[in-house]
């Protein structure tokens, strides 16, 4: 039985195409289509139901937060001690071999932490926490859901939505608590934007207000093309239990100067690197396609690929085993070699 977010009926009303995703029944696109939704976010703004994300609350048991901080520093690659109240950081949970259990956002509040996990990994992260936590109370918040408003116009929309000018002053990776709603300046599109934590019972009304402001509803399809143009990794594609955050280019979120699970393995660097590839022809690269540099043996493999609505060209993320081979590569697509070029990430610069 697929789970439904509090906005399920709203998606049906808007005639969204619904698909199963990570155990949830989610909108993949609305009648406007992925490209129009994508362009709305790049040119003005769009709203996404991200109610499938796992929201996990952590508290130190003796009403002290220190135990939760120590725990999060042990299971995550980034340094939680650097977080101030009402801010968040990107971190990666690694296994002992340095492979990725999940990539997460960690929020610090005066009396607790919130971890946002990928929908596909929420159960795994909860089990991982339970097996490694000491003196920490862990709870999945199933009475709260998330919503994202992304794009250059997101700030004016969210300010108007709550009638609160303080939102405009919010810095990237900081959040503001407005009663029972938390507004965070974060996102997964490469644009300015906000992610909101909202009680389930208030979600439908909030969604109606946003749609009433002529904000484009966007599905998982546009979420994927937007994150790909922004060069952002997605678990199950760029990340899995065999890939490391260093290979994916996230060394800035890996603090090797402190102890954490997987550190020992990450000290041994690997040769594989995640790169972006732009193709000159119109065939779309898909996950698993091999990358070549002239020879008969592949030098890498595509992890995600799509048509970039902004560049109007096919793009891919791929792991390359030998980066010293130059920028000219080819992809094998249905038996043909299609020329491409390795480019620096993100594909779209802001």
């Amino acid at each position: 039985m697929l789970k439904r977010t509090p906005l399920y009926d709203k998606h049906l009303t808007l005639k969204a195409k619904m698909v199963p995703f990570a155990g949830w029944e989610m909108p993949i696109y609305y009648p406007q289509g992925i490209i129009a939704e994508h362009k709305a976010v790049r040119s003005s703004c769009g709203v996404f139901d991200i109610g499938h994300m796992g929201i996990i609350k952590l508290k130190g048991q003796s009403a002290k937060l220190k135990s939760a901080e120590l725990f999060l520093n042990k299971i995550g690659t980034n340094d939680v001690a650097k977080l101030s109240d009402y801010s968040c950081q990107y971190s990666v949970i690694c296994n002992e071999e340095g492979g990725v259990v999940d990539d997460i956002l960690i929020y610090k509040f005066p009396d607790h932490y919130i971890v946002v996990a990928n929908a596909s990994n929420t159960d795994k992260v909860l089990a991982w926490f339970s097996s490694h936590a000491e003196g920490v109370e862990i709870k999945l918040l199933d009475d709260t859901s998330m919503l994202a408003i992304q794009g250059q116009q997101a700030e004016s929309v969210v300010v108007e939505l709550f009638g609160d000018e303080e939102i405009a002053k919010l810095k990237r990776n900081h959040c503001l608590v407005l009663g029972d709603i938390t507004v965070s300046r974060t996102g997964y599109t490469g644009e300015d934007g906000f992610e909101l934590f909202v009680p389930n019972k208030k979600m439908a009304e909030l969604w109606d207000s946003i749609i009433g402001m002529k904000v484009q509803p966007c599905g998982l399809g546009a979420r994927d093309t937007l994150r790909l143009e922004a060069g952002l990794p997605l678990y199950g594609h760029e990340y899995n239990d065999k890939t490391t955050p260093l290979e994916a280019g996230y060394s800035w979120a890996v603090k090797l100067g402190k102890e954490f699970i997987g550190r020992g393995a990450l000290l041994k660097e690997r040769k594989r690197k995640l790169v972006g590839i732009v193709l000159e022809e119109k065939n779309i690269p898909r996950e698993g396609f091999k990358v070549y540099n002239g020879g008969t043996d592949p030098i890498g493999e595509v992890t995600s690929g799509t048509f970039s609505p902004s560049l109007e060209k096919p793009i891919a993320l791929a792991y390359i085993y030998n980066r010293e081979t130059g920028d000219k590569v080819s992809l094998e697509i249905r038996g043909k070699r299609i020329e491409g070029k390795i480019v620096s990430l993100p594909f779209i610069k802001r």
Partner: protein, 124 residues
Amino acid sequence: MYPENLKYSTEHEWAKVDGVMATIGISHYAQDSLGDVVYVELPAEGKTVGAMDNIGVVESVKTVSTLYSPVAGEVVEVNKELQEKPALVNEDPYGKGWMLKIKMSNPADLDKLLSASDYQAQLH
């Protein structure tokens, strides 16, 4: 959404017949399932194809779908406008989104295709 004057394959192609010429495209259901079409790969003009041969691909943002030839014959023309405007497949699947024209070598292939009502009935 499914014009009565067309014949349909179970793989969601349509054929519009005029004598021995058949114009081929994909159905409303196919374009709607694919979503935004971003690339259509078609066979070369002059190529001989068999009925239900794999003759091309239709790529959308999310997925790729094989194009089958509902009839056997010679490809006499392909819709070159789709190279620059693949979205025509979504906007006008039975009109400007047509894909190719085949000079049929075996018009009996048409007997294996479905009427609009039979095609619609098997969609559900």
